[in-house]
């Protein structure tokens, strides 16, 4: 491998190439390259991504505890159990709720901050860094920190309630409130990422359009509503896409906060899969959740891109 420069010296260089109008050179070592370069990726990917997904589809038709081979064929029983399970319905609703809240609260917040940070004021870099910080932290750490914040005895909420002299709320232990507490943490954790998308989107905008609007006498809000926002369309669609994907795989953040409780009120599809499939080794049921999740993911990956992002 070290004789490359020597070889290069003995052969006609770039000038010769130009003179001979060399077309589509056939390089040496095509087959050896293919044989050494492709198999590692192919093997890893097939073994740990594709086969497990296929096996999930297979196992989902069985009742199996994971030992030996699956023999007890139950057809679509696992799916029936799943869709009649109240906790799984809650999980589906929660996943939907997270997406809706992201679109209604998180994305407007991200756009608002991005627009502010695109102004020429001092400290923009520092603010940007602070807002992005929660995104870099591990979900587990963020979840535990907020578990403390929400703690009814020691947390910030306890202190605030004490200050106003009201009874200390145990937010995470309240069946009706817990999911909103979780949603607040999700926004806290992820708004910075969406904000960065919009900052990048704003930087790519054509500034002359803005100037034209301003010369025509558009107010700040009008400029934003009728010029900036429509031009940010593709970024909004991208941001919604990430919000959906993020919601569908949400697990790490829920576990330290509530573990899916109280009484399953904060389950998501993945925490449901873990609680009912993994910890109880119900391979069939857990695989059925995986299949449902897979179908939703693939539908969204194809459908969303085809419908909303075809011009982007």
């Amino acid at each position: 491998m070290t004789d490359m420069t020597a070889t290069a010296g003995n052969r006609p260089g770039i000038d010769a190439l130009r003179m001979t109008k060399y077309k589509s050179p056939t390089a040496r070592g095509r087959l050896p390259a293919l044989i050494t370069f492709l198999p590692p990726a192919l093997l890893l990917f097939t073994l740990f991504v594709i086969l497990p997904m296929g096996e999930a589809a297979w196992y989902s038709l069985y009742r199996w505890n994971g030992y030996g081979t699956p023999t007890e064929f139950v057809g679509t029983r696992n799916f029936q159990v799943l869709f009649n399970n109240a906790a799984f319905s809650t999980a589906l609703i929660n996943n939907g709720l997270i997406i809706v809240i992201s679109i209604l609260l998180q994305i407007p917040l991200a756009i608002w901050l991005a627009v502010m940070l695109s102004r020429r004021i001092a400290g923009v870099v520092a603010f940007r860094m602070v807002f992005f910080l929660p995104y870099v932290l591990a979900d587990v750490a963020a979840g535990l920190i907020w578990r403390f914040v929400y703690d009814g005895d020691y947390g910030l909420f306890a202190a605030i309630a004490g200050f106003f002299g009201v009874a200390t709320p145990y937010v995470l232990a309240d069946r009706d409130l817990a999911i909103y507490a979780v949603l607040a943490v999700i926004i806290w954790k992820y708004f910075g990422f969406h904000m960065m998308l919009f900052i990048a989107g704003l930087q790519a905008l054509d500034k002359s359009v803005m100037e034209a609007a301003e010369i025509d006498g558009a107010t700040g809000w009008q400029r934003f509503r009728y010029v900036t926002l429509p031009l940010l369309g593709s970024t909004v669609r991208l941001s919604v896409f990430f919000a959906i994907i993020g919601s569908l795989q949400l697990f790490d953040l829920i576990m330290p906060l509530t573990g899916g409780g109280p009484s399953n009120s904060t389950q998501t599809m993945v925490t449901f899969l873990y609680t009912y499939g993994v910890t109880r080794m119900q391979v069939g049921l857990g695989s059925a959740v995986g299949v449902v999740l897979f179908v939703i993911c693939v539908t969204i990956a194809f459908g969303y891109k085809r419908i909303f992002m075809r011009h982007d």
């Binding site: 370069f37 492709l38 890893l44 502010m116 400290g123 020691y154 910030l156 803005m210 790490d252």
Partner: protein, 282 residues
């Protein structure tokens, strides 16, 4: 790039509004983090009476006990080993495969690329049970490899795509010159493509490292000896053990996120760019 006149001259009113809004959001981000760090310096009683403010008296022992024990360092090492191996393998395996897709057309090459891109569509959680059974049957349960290999495999779709797009945009003349000079594909990859690809190596490396360093569900399912736990698992065990001794848990959380925060502050430009580019381009 020309700035609009409005962004050059900002009225005092607007300026106050901007700084107030931004500071409010910054406070919401920072208060939980700062309280966590300060909470580690308090006694439990102090924490209960005064979770917001500075400690009544600074208790260093919470932090020092963790730092002088081996538990914290072991977890950090475990995370570091797993993350570094994951990054190394991902870079090697995906750049080699991407090179083939970027420069060679062979039978079924497009289909094969699409095959890898399936991996972009669903998270590892979908197939977690069959994955567990596979790792168990391979005898890799409770070993670093049981975490590393699936992590690499699930990152391949994105990394191959990023590398392939980058390789394709390298100037065509380089290839022709090198090939005419008798340089084969493998040497070309090693001596020309890779050295020219530092930006994309950084992007893939950062995305892979951060997601491995923070990952929870894979190690949770594949590892069951505490001495092998990476920190996100270890921190949950610690919290389970010390339950309501929040001052200890807070000190432990602070120390585990400290490396992330330090590295982020030192290299924030690259990390923000890497994480957003990694997501958007794929």
């Amino acid at each position: 790039m020309t700035e609009t006149s409005s962004s050059v001259r900002i009225s005092t009113g607007t300026r106050i509004y901007l700084y107030l809004s931004l500071s409010l959001v910054a406070a919401i981000v920072l208060v939980p983090l700062v309280t966590t760090a300060l909470g580690g310096f308090k006694t439990l009683g102090d924490l209960r009476l005064n979770p917001f403010g500075l400690p009544d008296e600074w208790v260093w022992s919470n932090y020092l006990d963790i730092l002088f024990g081996d538990r914290y360092w072991r977890q950090m090492m475990n995370s570091l080993i797993i993350a570094c191996m994951t990054v190394f393998l991902t870079l090697v395996v995906s750049s080699m495969a991407a090179f083939c897709f970027a420069h060679m057309r062979f039978f079924g090459s497009n289909q094969l690329l699409n095959y890898f891109l399936i991996g972009l569509m669903f998270p590892a959680a979908t197939a977690i049970l069959p994955l567990f059974i596979r790792i168990r049957d391979l005898g890799l349960l409770d070993s670093y490899w049981g975490v590393i290999l699936p992590q690499v495999a699930f990152g391949l779709g994105m990394s191959i795509l990023l590398f392939r797009n980058y390789f394709r945009n390298l100037p065509e003349e380089l290839f022709q010159a090198a090939f005419v000079d008798g340089c084969g594909y493998i040497r070309f990859f090693w001596y020309i493509s890779l050295p020219l690809s530092r930006p994309i190596v950084a992007t893939v490396g950062i995305v892979t490292f951060v997601s491995s360093w923070n990952s929870y569900i894979l190690p949770l399912i594949m590892l069951n000896t505490e001495s092998k736990y990476p920190w996100p698992l270890g921190i949950m065990v610690y919290r389970g053990e010390f339950g309501t001794d929040w001052q200890l848990v807070l000190a432990f959380i602070t120390l585990t996120i400290l490396p992330t925060i330090i590295v982020f502050f030192l290299a924030q430009k690259h990390i923000i760019a890497g994480l957003t580019a990694g997501a958007v381009k794929s």
